[in-house]
């Protein structure tokens, strides 16, 4: 495992997203509630640039005709087909079997490090 320090914490404002290139791989770095998350900029459905999608909330599972809005700022929607992914885990909201690749993040001296193999 290697930690690639690619950004300063101040580069990513709260609710923001920055796409960086780490060893030829595009990665979206998000800041939610003061914590940082990293997602591969590649949708597992058809390969769209996932991290170019909007960051939003969504309607949570609910009773019929009831609407419960939640997860504000924690969901990214693929810019092609609108599939919703949990930014914190990369999981699709529809199926646990569908995941966008996510990477652990380490912070050191105000820098954001992305943990990758090699």
């Amino acid at each position: 495992m290697a930690v690639h320090y690619v950004l300063e914490e101040k580069d990513v404002p709260e609710g923001g997203r920055v796409i960086v290139n780490v060893q030829g791989r595009e990665i979206g770095v998000y800041r939610i509630g003061g914590l940082f998350y990293a997602l591969y900029n590649y949708c597992p459905h058809q390969g769209a640039p996932l991290c170019e999608g909007i960051v939003c909330g969504t309607t949570m599972p609910s009773d019929v005709y009831a609407y419960e809005y939640g997860r504000a700022g924690e969901i990214v929607r693929c810019p092609w087909h609108g599939w919703e992914f949990d930014i914190k885990t990369g999981r699709s909201l529809v199926s646990g079997r569908i995941r966008a690749r996510s990477y652990p993040v380490e912070l050191r001296d105000g820098k954001i490090g992305i943990v990758m193999k090699g």
């Binding site: 058809q46 087909h81 609108g82």
Partner: protein
């Protein structure tokens, strides 16, 4: 992405602002559109993901699909697209109420398409739009524009006032056949204006239902075209069902053939099994490709009706349900080559 082989994309939506059509319109339509816009009627169904691919908005502003350079950079070059049929969106005018205005908008668009798009890149070929409210006017427009070397197709809306095989629409097919052009049906305005309800059961509540049920519209039009004898009257006519789905085709062929065996006397002008007319005259575009959990199931289903000879790859760029030409990977290499390229090359004589 160079391992994809050659690609022809039969559904690419170029867009324009209403004001772009103004110079191509005669009065009284010119001042009307300059003042109030075209005024399409829309289905009224809201999509939570929008209708456009979010990464297809031109950086300099404007609508997705309005910048030829971005289409070239985002679609034509990366996917090795040899030809792209520009389908526009103007066919949607067929759900408005005034036949003369709808025809004028289509004529203006066709002149605009030829003047401002088709020369922009050698890959660009054009689908000329006609409105279905007055098929005689549509036929006149096909005769006016259809001979242009870069016009490869006539496109009409699948949202219509009646099943499109009926006799009042035949002048469109007659003119298309006369000009050697396939006729494409494209959805988008189902349920809008003076069109029929968007599903067989009426008006659903949400876009997810509306979009899923678009296939019903294509099934109904296809059955109508076969039974009304369109392909007997116009034996050289080809029809392209764009964006209406594929997986229903075996069901429809089997059910219609079965019924024909009992009910043939009602449509005595048919000389062959209905499925035979469909195989000989019809093409289906691939997008939005059905996605069963096991992708092989779709290929198995398509193989049951030799669909490799009837399918044409389409991306629907820049719309939200875009498919890249990496779909249908489970098809055999030879079948896939036909679907991605060869069927369209022959149909459009490219």
């Amino acid at each position: 992405m160079t391992d994809l082989g050659k690609v022809i994309d039969v559904d690419v939506h170029n867009e324009q602002n209403d004001a772009d059509l103004v110079p191509y319109l005669p009065e009284p339509w010119r001042s009307r559109v300059a003042r109030s816009g075209v005024g399409y009627s829309y289905s009224g169904y809201y999509s939570p993901v929008g209708v456009m691919r979010r990464d297809a908005l031109p950086p300099g502003g404007g609508k997705a699909g309005s910048d030829p350079d971005l289409i070239i950079r985002q679609l034509i070059e990366p996917y090795n697209v040899e030809y792209a049929v520009l389908t526009g969106v103007v066919y949607n005018i067929s759900t408005t109420h005034d036949p003369d205005f709808a025809a004028a908008i289509c004529s203006a668009y066709n002149d605009y398409l030829i003047a401002e798009w088709l020369g922009k890149h050698p890959a660009f070929k054009g689908a000329m739009a006609v409105a279905t409210q007055d098929p005689q006017l549509a036929a006149r427009e096909i005769d006016r524009i259809g001979g242009h070397p870069d016009i490869v197709e006539v496109i009409i809306s699948s949202a219509a006032r009646a099943p499109l095989g009926q006799r009042q629409f035949h002048p469109i097919y007659e003119a298309a056949e006369r000009n050697g052009l396939p006729v494409a049906l494209h959805p988008g305005a189902e349920g809008a204006g003076s069109a029929t309800a968007p599903t067989a059961a009426g008006y659903p509540t949400w876009y997810i239902e509306w979009h899923t049920c678009l296939s019903q519209m294509f099934m109904a039009h296809l059955v109508s075209m076969v039974c009304e004898g369109v392909f007997e009257k116009f034996p050289r006519l080809k029809v392209v069902l764009v964006e209406g789905g594929m997986a229903w085709l075996p069901h429809l062929m089997w059910r219609l053939d079965k019924n024909y065996k009992a009910l043939r006397s009602q449509v005595p002008w048919l000389k062959k099994l209905p499925s035979q007319y469909i195989r000989e005259h019809c093409y289906l575009s691939t997008q939005p490709v059905e996605e069963p959990d096991n992708p092989q199931h779709l290929v198995d289903l398509l193989n049951m009706v030799d669909a490799e000879n009837m399918l044409l790859y389409s991306s629907d760029y820049p719309h939200w349900d875009f498919d890249p030409p990496t779909v249908l990977k489970r098809m055999s290499p030879e079948a896939r080559r036909k679907v991605m390229y060869e069927n369209a090359r022959q149909l459009y004589r490219l």
